[in-house]
Amino acid sequence: MAGIWIFAENHKHCLELLNPGQKLAQKLGSPLAIFLWQDKELIKDYVSHGAEQIFVLPPLAADQTLEAYVPLIADLARREQPDVFLLGSSLRCKEMAARIAASLNTGLCSDCIAFNLNDSKALEMERLIFGGAAIQKVICVTSPQMATIPAGTFEAGPAQSPGEVRIVELADPLPSVVKLIDKKSNAHQSANLTEARVVVCVGRGLEKESDLGMARELAELLGAEIGCTRPISEELHWLPEDTCIGLSGIKVKPELYIGLGVSGQIQHITGIRDARIIFAINNDENAPIFDVSNYGMVGDVYKVVPQLINELKKTIK
């Protein structure tokens, strides 16, 4: 038995992973399979993106969460012996991947940002370590070779004319003792941020939540989206968590990034390395952000930003 397996939480991410999955499947001569639950309408879409097998997971009871599938998926992997298992790196899938890997006694490359097949047909996978200060290249010497892959790492391929498909309906999982009591959804925003041409990023250099007004005014003037550092979203909760830029947040690649009171710790910088121009305002001339900036302004955001807004108003008509 063999297989290249894909598991991700949402449709878009599934399509993204099917693309490299399909290439691997061709090179390794192994069928491409994807997991599905809820919406069977998606089968067609997955098949036209290369899936040759669909594992259909049974519906979950109201008090169960996706992780309840872990034993089921691990058992299936023990039987089918896939070569490669790629999962999306959403928070939920990270936990699932680690538990499945432990259950199968195999290695897992977390947050893999690139990979290629070497001459002995092993995946050489790259990931960031030390907050992004270094890149580690690993191979998994056990089977299956597993990786979690962040959203946006790959692009979905074009739809092709669908081939044959094998649909496998899986049995009900045993209910997990972890029970869902309540769920609060948050409104999503970050799609705009990852595609934004200009990003204004707010750091802890801002003293209070109402000072966001100043950042918003600047952003509006530049047609920018607002992002932030982790303390702003996770500790202060001034902005939604999906606007956090960096290692544990999202990566942005704007033409212009403007950092307001951002110190430039490596975990944040990791998320902006693909920005074309980085401009930072910080009142500490030794702030690490200046090392990675194209333009660094040593000054107080409360003095600089209003002046900058005035100057920009004159320039942008």
Partner: protein, 257 residues
């Protein structure tokens, strides 16, 4: 009254790595620290003990000379530490660390709750916690931002990509914590002094029976170079207009609605 175990890692401080010159990764002169979010793991254990009683131990896998980390951890409140150490216990990958922790925990630690950080500051693999739970066959919830105990059940709030879930689970269990679950206290002089008197259980390679082979092999580690030799400006009016001119020339502003 729960027995709580918190897992911490003693790691090279990445700030030194970034600042060091050259392309090679040179760990010889770096400073070490307790992995950032493991401070939250320790704090949460101590906070729970203050609220519900019970006891708190800390556990780490590392090199024999990582004793500074033990003292640091103990100064943050746990009353006892397990120090699993061997000169070969460096650069372990998550499956190895989890297997080593699991063997020691199974064979000699009584626990109701294990708390890990959401990810270590060096590897940030976010694996050791859930792997450990799987090997111990106990339930686990990762990325939690709130934790309570109600009638022997844990009630946790966990972050997912599209929101927050409230979950219940029986003990023994394992959780991994996000940084916003608490603000770690800063140990005072007294805490540091009392830390050196706390018991440490020393566990060597010979005390373990597993072979702990790695599943992931590291082929290379390269420093990521992100330095841009930019222009530094003051914040006088002429600096601001110089900047705006430069941004216009670069084509990144202007022509925007």
């Amino acid at each position: 009254m729960p027995n709580i175990l918190c897992c911490f890692k003693w790691v090279a401080d990445e700030a030194y790595i970034r600042a060091s010159a050259g392309k090679e990764l040179d760990l010889e002169w770096v400073d070490y620290k307790i992995s950032d979010y493991d401070r939250n793991a320790i704090e949460e254990a101590v906070r729970l003990q203050e609220q519900y009683g019970g006891n708190v131990s800390a556990i780490t896998v590392g090199k024999p000379d990582d004793t500074k980390g033990l003292k640091d951890a103990l100064s943050r409140g746990p009353e006892k530490a397990y120090f699993i150490n061997d000169s070969s216990f460096q650069n372990l990958e998550p499956s190895q660390t989890a297997a080593i922790l699991a063997e020691v925990i199974k064979s000699q630690i009584d626990y109701d709750l294990i708390i890990c950080g959401e990810g270590s500051s060096d590897l940030y693999a976010q694996q050791v916690g859930p792997r450990l739970a799987e090997i111990l066959s106990i339930p686990c919830v990762s990325f939690i931002q709130k934790l309570d105990i109600e009638q022997n059940q844990l009630i946790v709030e966990r972050k997912v990509d599209d929101g927050v879930e409230v979950l219940s689970l029986p003990m023994p269990a394992l959780v991994t914590v996000l940084p916003d679950i608490n603000s770690p206290r800063i140990p005072g002089l007294k805490d540091t002094l009392s830390a050196s008197r706390k018991p440490v259980v020393d566990i060597g390679r010979d005390d373990l029976s597993g072979n702990f082979e790695s599943c992931l092999q590291t082929m290379a580690i390269n420093k990521a170079n992100m330095e841009r030799n930019g222009i530094k400006l003051g914040s006088e009016p002429q600096d601001i207009s110089q900047l705006v001119d430069a941004l216009v020339k670069q084509g990144v502003i202007g022509g925007v609605k």
